[in-house]
């Protein structure tokens, strides 16, 4: 096993599938000659040729539209949005066409849209968002949010293999900061299966993406106080692993949902509601949410720090819940 960064693991997964399956091709802005804004597809055009690693004009609508058509004709396109934020341009194609095609006509639309998302590096309001909840709300779309290099590779392969449109949210802040052992061979991580990042008995902390690491640090801080927190990394928010969450909550009787996306209507609301609905009799405290405030992501570094949930925020939330 090699130690790869999160970004290398994504590249590795994509390369593995392109080598294995000729139907897989990549399309996006600057993904070819330039190797992608974040260099995920660096060297891909040399290996697979310009017809399988296509530079597209600056038009997300065209990219997703082309992918949808190609997928209906039997291809397995992987689109790259330069930033997740730009996917709103392709909303109509994704939501009105791709998500509904299977239900309307029975045709599968096996497209994968890679979405570099998340903040933490002063990217400002247009380059830092985590729009997963908007798409999790659309029946017909799947949303994947890997946190570890191993999951990044295995989930990307699952996403490409899946017969449905899958949005693959790769967190930019993790690209080069996070390293981990990644198997060299091809493997899949199933969509809809959570991962227990850390076991614990007192509180269940449910999160995904970069927040897994924020949560982990906070939990480590509290360990010396004798507080035992279980961290559930959802890995995919749609479908999401309700059973794993409910099992954990039934054990601990307290739940905190953490996400980097804004609070109102964020996916944490769905999780909190489900816990309240299905595990009510096992609760020993209110279901708590920690999320970003309902504003665009600020550019200024101190403001962005105040905006994105930090280790101290999470530790304070956990402490409050523990003391309840």
């Amino acid at each position: 096993m090699a130690e790869l960064t999160y970004l290398q693991a994504i590249s590795d997964g994509l390369r593995t599938e392109m080598r294995r399956d000729k139907r897989v091709f990549v399309i996006g802005e600057d993904v070819g000659v330039y190797g992608g804004a974040f260099k995920v597809t660096l060297g891909f055009q040399e290996e697979f040729g310009a017809w399988r690693v296509m530079d597209a004009p600056l038009a997300e609508t065209a990219i997703v539209g082309a992918c949808t058509g190609a997928a209906i004709m039997g291809m397995r396109p992987v689109a790259e949005m330069q930033f997740a934020d730009f996917i709103s341009c392709a909303w109509d194609h994704l939501v009105t066409v791709a998500a509904k095609q299977r239900y309307r006509a029975g045709t599968p639309v096996p497209i994968t849209v890679r979405l570099p998302s998340g903040g933490g590096f002063s990217g400002g309001p247009f380059h830092s968002q985590n729009p997963e909840s908007s798409f999790a709300h659309i029946p017909g779309l799947k949303c994947v949010c890997p946190a570890t290099p191993e999951d990044a590779k295995g989930l990307l392969i699952s996403a490409i293999e899946d017969p449905n449109p899958v949005l693959y949210f790769e967190h930019k802040h993790l690209y080069r900061r996070i390293k981990g052992e990644v198997p060299e061979e091809r493997y899949t991580v199933p969509l809809g299966k959570a991962r227990t990042h850390r076991e614990g008995d007192d509180i269940s902390l449910i999160t995904w993406g970069a927040m897994v690491y924020t949560a982990d640090e906070a939990v480590q801080q509290l360990e010396s106080d004798g507080l035992s927190v279980e961290i559930i990394d959802l890995r995919t928010v749609m479908p999401w692993d309700k059973q794993a969450v409910l099992e954990s909550v039934r054990k601990t009787s307290k739940a905190l949902v953490l996400h980097e996306d804004t609070r109102t209507g964020g996916f944490g609301a769905e999780i909190a509601a489900t816990i309240a609905e299905e595990a009510f009799e096992d609760l020993d405290g209110p279901v708590k949410r920690i999320a970003a405030p309902d504003t665009p992501v600020p550019f200024s570094p101190p403001l962005e720090k105040a905006f994105i949930p930090q280790v101290d925020d999470v530790a304070a939330g956990l402490r409050e819940l523990a003391e309840y």
Partner: protein, 461 residues
């Protein structure tokens, strides 16, 4: 205004065989003014869900039984007026038996206060009395009820002294303090009751002691993957108990007969407009069958009868029960049309429409689901052509009516030749208690019933 004399509100006797009721909702809160006959609370028994009117006017000084609790008939539920308010200030050590003793005092004129024997009040009571100050979380409440623990006896370490899950689990593990726990008593022993207990007007059958029913309910294992739990309503429990008891009591046998409904169908078509416009009711096939059945039952007193002890009861009247599915599809109730033999077709239509509607609106009075002597059930609305219904105890029979289906039918033409005609045919079943009713008798009953329906005499009905 404020009555100085306290009026007790007790769990009313909602029917002969009803022994307990569940408080579903208090419509007035403690400290609120309530007028006589004003709806005070809602209760649910295995027969009906209903509102209980206030037995008097005054301030609702004390609510003794909380929503969701099930208590025996005669249990004191609340106090109106008096100076009960101050009694609350000093929470007494869990004392529950005296409350029941007080309830014995015949105070209310509204409800036929039964001579409540010293029943143990439900175990849940002390929880409210001493632990009113801190919040009990759902999981703590669940653990408490599973282990019969009073959370107020547990030392709380949560916010504001709240008892946390850990606290109560620790308490259970290390055992309660020295003193013996006051034996939580959800499962009442089937103690022999004083025989003088039932001053009930109509038929007080040797009612199968309802106390026999509550078997120890095993705590179900946790739901498996794909399973989910939902609690049984009081009505569902009542139905379950009654169905099982009926099959254990009567020797069920079913006979069926085919009836040519041509004549009824023609009359029905003729009456329909008038009935709907003038009376707002429908002359359904069921009404015709009910009318004919009431008439036929007068000739078959045993089918309209009952085995009581080693006596056979027969009657000079027919009280006809009708199985009504409730709108949520989750329950069934059998309201009774009393003295059905006195009703003509229109009267029957109005009576059945009325009770069916009120059954669905939960507006039935307790007496209206009692005293039936024979029952009709009509599953044919969904197209079924045969069934074997379960007898409503302690009756001797139940008539099933099924879908009217057009079928090729051999009839005689004017020349006396057999020809095949298309006729609307309805199957009828009589399920009877073979202990009392023999097959031949049932057969004759069905034959006569068919005869009445096939040669419907308009002027006679």
């Amino acid at each position: 205004m404020a009555t100085t004399e306290a009026i007790d509100v007790v769990m009313p006797q909602m029917g002969v065989s009803v022994s307990e009721g569940t408080i579903t909702k208090w419509l007035k809160q403690q400290g609120e003014q309530v007028e006589a006959d004003e709806p005070l609370l809602e209760i649910s028994t295995d027969k009906v869900d209903t509102e209980v009117p206030s037995p008097g006017s005054g301030v609702l000084t004390e609510i003794l039984v909380q929503e969701g609790q099930t208590v025996d008939v005669g249990t004191k539920l609340a106090v109106i007026g008096g100076d009960g308010a101050k009694a609350e200030a000093a929470p007494p050590a869990p004392a529950t038996t005296e409350a029941a003793a007080e309830a014995a005092a015949p105070s209310s004129a509204e409800t036929p206060a039964p001579s409540a024997p010293a029943q143990p009040a439900p175990a849940a009571a002390p929880e409210q009395s001493t632990n009113g100050k801190t919040f009990v979380s759902p999981v703590v409440a669940k653990i408490a009820s599973e282990h019969g623990v009073d959370p107020s006896q547990v030392h709380g370490t949560g916010r504001g002294g709240r008892v946390t899950k850990k606290d109560i689990l620790g308490f259970i593990e290390s055992g309660p303090p020295a003193e013996a726990p006051p034996a939580p008593a959800p499962a009442q022993p089937a103690e022999p009751e004083p025989p003088s207990e039932a001053p009930v007007p109509a038929a007080a059958p040797a009612a199968p002691a309802p106390a026999a029913a509550p078997a120890p309910t095993p705590v179900p294992a946790a739901a498996q993957v794909g399973e989910s739990f939902e609690p049984m309503s009081a009505m569902r429990k009542g139905i379950a108990e009654h169905m099982r008891r009926s099959l254990d009591t009567s020797a069920h046998v079913t006979s069926a007969i085919e009836v040519d409904m041509s004549k009824v169908s023609a009359i029905r078509a003729k009456l329909k407009k008038e009935y709907q416009q003038s009376y707002g009711v429908n002359p359904t096939y069921l009404i015709f069958v009910a009318r004919a059945a009431a008439e036929t039952l007068r000739d078959y007193p045993w089918i309209n009868g009952e085995i009581r002890g080693d006596q056979i009861v027969t009657r000079s009247y027919v009280n006809l029960g009708f199985a009504v599915e409730l709108q949520d599809g989750k329950g069934l109730i059998v309201p009774v049309v009393k003295n059905a033999e006195t009703l003509n077709l229109l009267g029957m239509a109005k009576a059945v429409t009325d009770i069916a509607q009120r059954a669905r609106d939960k507006k039935l009075l307790p007496d209206e689901v009692q005293g039936g002597t024979f029952t009709i059930t009509n599953p044919g609305g969904y197209g079924t052509f045969h069934g074997t219904p379960v007898i409503s105890q302690p009756q001797a029979g139940i008539l099933g009516t099924y879908a009217v289906v057009k079928r090729p039918w051999v009839v005689q033409d004017d020349m006396g030749e057999d020809v095949i005609a298309i006729r609307p045919i309805m199957n009828l079943t009589l399920t009877y208690d073979h202990r009392l009713v023999d097959g031949a008798l049932a057969g004759r009953f069905l034959r006569d019933l068919r005869q009445k329906l096939e040669s419907w005499d308009e002027s006679a009905y």
